[in-house]
Symmetry: C2
């Protein structure tokens, strides 16, 4: 158990870039499932959707008014009204059956089918005569096609309406419904198991007592993974015992996220166990916090080993586990955070060779680094508006430098 | 039924600003409910949360190493090692029971309680000697408090950890859990009923046949309202009959959204019915599309009358109904869309006195207005990346103008 190397730090750390490159080689969108349209909002299409109908399926009025033969209104004006004989009505789904000839008109509502013979709609305000009169007069001329929505103008049969990889917006569901699509083929949501290790931990929601502390990482990781599209069971609390950890890792979930015991200390069991029972691809990353992060594979599950310190855990999730969850779900690898660019109020210092994740506030349009303790102070991430990344090749930023702030949401 | 005024347009239109001002007077966050933490992500706190514990509840190590009396390491350096007698171990939740004196040390893990007597942690890499040895040597001095996380440094007892109105982030759930909060008091989600009117409509997912069309607005409105924090039942499809519409309106939901029949045409029944059975505050807004939009109240329900044309329906939702849903849910009135500023590729023209909602694409960083039909072409909002608002006092924007684009999501 007590091993000099394990007590003295990592033999070698991956750069963040190298770790991400390695991760990206192992992640791709999951297989597909069919879902009813009503459940498909924000999901990712697994295949192109082509329309096999025209929308609308018929020419229709785009205004309330009178369907006419456009040519028969030529010369009409307020001082030279042209008489029209009203021969019927066209309402949505209750079309006019006959044919409109020159000098005739059919009262028509928005969305109603354009009657045979007519080729334009004269808006109601260009008509003289009561709306229930059989004899009215045109006060203006219309050109052919005016105020008519043509068959297929919204969606033409055979068109690819939405492409594979599209994250479905509310209006996309509307368009899919309009072409008669009742269910869609979308990327399956990854199943994520959370394994929270630590003899000192009490279940979330417990009052901390004595030297025991309540699990903060479980509720946080569950919300993060759900935000990124995963289906997440309630966290498993596991003691720092090899058998218990190994049992928790074997689950067949798409992703397992382990919190705690990821470093090189006496009770940091997870890396050794993952290496023994599966594959440990990365262990130790040149970043702060979250340097004792690792990942690999066990059976069909991607396994992420995140530090138990909650700020490290958040940072390690955002850099590695979250990227995997989002990619498996068919979404973007990139952070789901908005970014802004603003000037630093105070300097941020960092070390060459290590990427830094600096929590900041944005006050009056200026970026204020938070004077914060270490990776154990989770409240620093609730007081912060977001974070600034200092790349590994930088010693930090001077006051006044424009920096990119990623805003927590 | 056939009434000249109703066929000829609105007697008067509200400006968008006036309509919003009127709406804002009638909307405020709903009452509160208690929820388990695990279900509270993205919900809005209904009350401040104060901590009645310190986190951590004890001084602890922030690194793996040796707990010592800092003063006893004075003068230690690699060429002048100072001997230390290791008298025990401190592990998380398994503290060392004794007291550390000068010249003594306790092996300690990150997060473990700092033993009595000690006031600093000497990192393992500054120690000469095997990690299981009882006699080691300090290779460097530490100052008091070094590598120690003090009681209450994350959260001090009595502190307001998160304030009323806060939308809970994943890390907020972590902090709440760490102070022993198992459930939280959050603003209730508004219940929304969707009433989709139109004799020509088939239920979402049906193939359009003859002169009937499949409901596009129901699935779209459901996804929009859910996005904004509502609980939404499946849409009610209702024929254009007064009794059926009135029955659907009486439901006690916090919000009722009616699609279709909102204008002044022959079968536009909703405004008259709302005025008769409840209150119609606004009917007709100086905007395009979505001018035939209205809202008011019936019993305890806010009622929104949106045009049946799907682009109008989307626009009317975003301007009015969505604002109400988000406010009732405790969130921001403002659009949930990101915005960017970019230069127009082609001009956008508008009329003074009317606000315009112009769908655009963003191609190579330039804003291209979509050459699109009217409010009936929903696919214009799936081809668009977002929209540009032309205010009522503007005739539009010339090519090259920097405009704000609200990006659909």
């Amino acid at each position: 158990m007590k091993d000099d190397v394990r007590m003295r730090g990592f033999a070698r750390r991956h750069t963040v870039e190298a770790a991400l490159e390695l991760l990206d080689r192992h992640i791709q969108p999951l297989d597909a499932e069919r879902l009813p349209l009503r459940s498909a909002s924000r999901r990712v299409l697994a295949a192109d959707v082509e329309s096999d109908v025209d929308v609308p399926g018929f020419d229709r009025a785009t205004m309330d008014g009178y369907a006419v033969v456009a040519a028969s209104t030529e010369g009409a004006a307020s001082y030279t009204p042209l008489p029209l004989v009203v021969i019927g009505d066209s309402l949505p789904a209750r079309p006019f059956d006959g044919t409109v000839a020159s000098g005739q008109a059919v009262r028509i509502m928005t969305g109603a089918p354009l009657p045979a013979g007519s080729d334009a709609v004269l808006p109601a305000e260009w008509i003289d005569g009561a709306s229930d009169s059989a004899n009215v007069a045109a006060l203006a001329a219309v050109s052919p096609g005016k105020n008519v929505g043509h068959r297929g103008e919204d969606v033409a049969r055979g068109t690819t309406v939405l492409g594979r990889g599209r994250t479905l917006r509310p209006q996309d569901l509307g368009v899919l419904s309009s072409i008669g699509v009742g269910d869609v083929c979308v990327i399956r949501r990854p199943r994520v198991r959370l394994v929270i290790t630590g003899n000192e931990l009490l279940a979330a929601g417990s009052s901390p007592t004595g030297y025991s502390i309540a699990d903060a990482n479980g509720p946080m990781l569950k919300a993060l993974a759900e935000r990124d599209g995963a289906v997440v069971d309630d966290p498993w609390l596991v003691p720092d015992e090899p058998e218990a950890i190994v049992e928790a890792l074997h689950c067949g979930s798409d992703v397992v996220i382990v919190s705690g015991g990821s470093s090189v200390g006496l009770e940091d069991l997870a890396p050794t166990l993952l290496a023994k029972h599966g594959e440990l691809w990365v262990h130790g990353v040149a970043m702060r916090p979250s340097s004792p992060t690792g990942f690999g594979k066990l059976g069909s599950s991607l396994v992420f080993l995140l530090p138990g310190n909650p700020v490290s855990c958040l940072c390690g999730y955002d850099f590695f586990a979250g990227r995997a969850v989002r990619t498996l779900a068919g979404g973007s690898k990139e952070w789901p955070y908005r970014s802004i660019v603003a000037a630093l109020e105070h300097k941020i210092t960092s070390q060459i060779g290590r990427l830094d994740y600096a929590r900041v506030r944005v006050v009056g349009g200026r970026v204020e680094p938070l004077a914060i303790g270490g990776a154990s102070v989770l409240s620093s991430t609730t007081r912060a508006d977001g974070f600034v990344i200092v790349p590994a090749d930088s010693e930090g930023f001077a006051p006044g430098t424009d920096v990119t702030v990623w805003l927590y949401a």
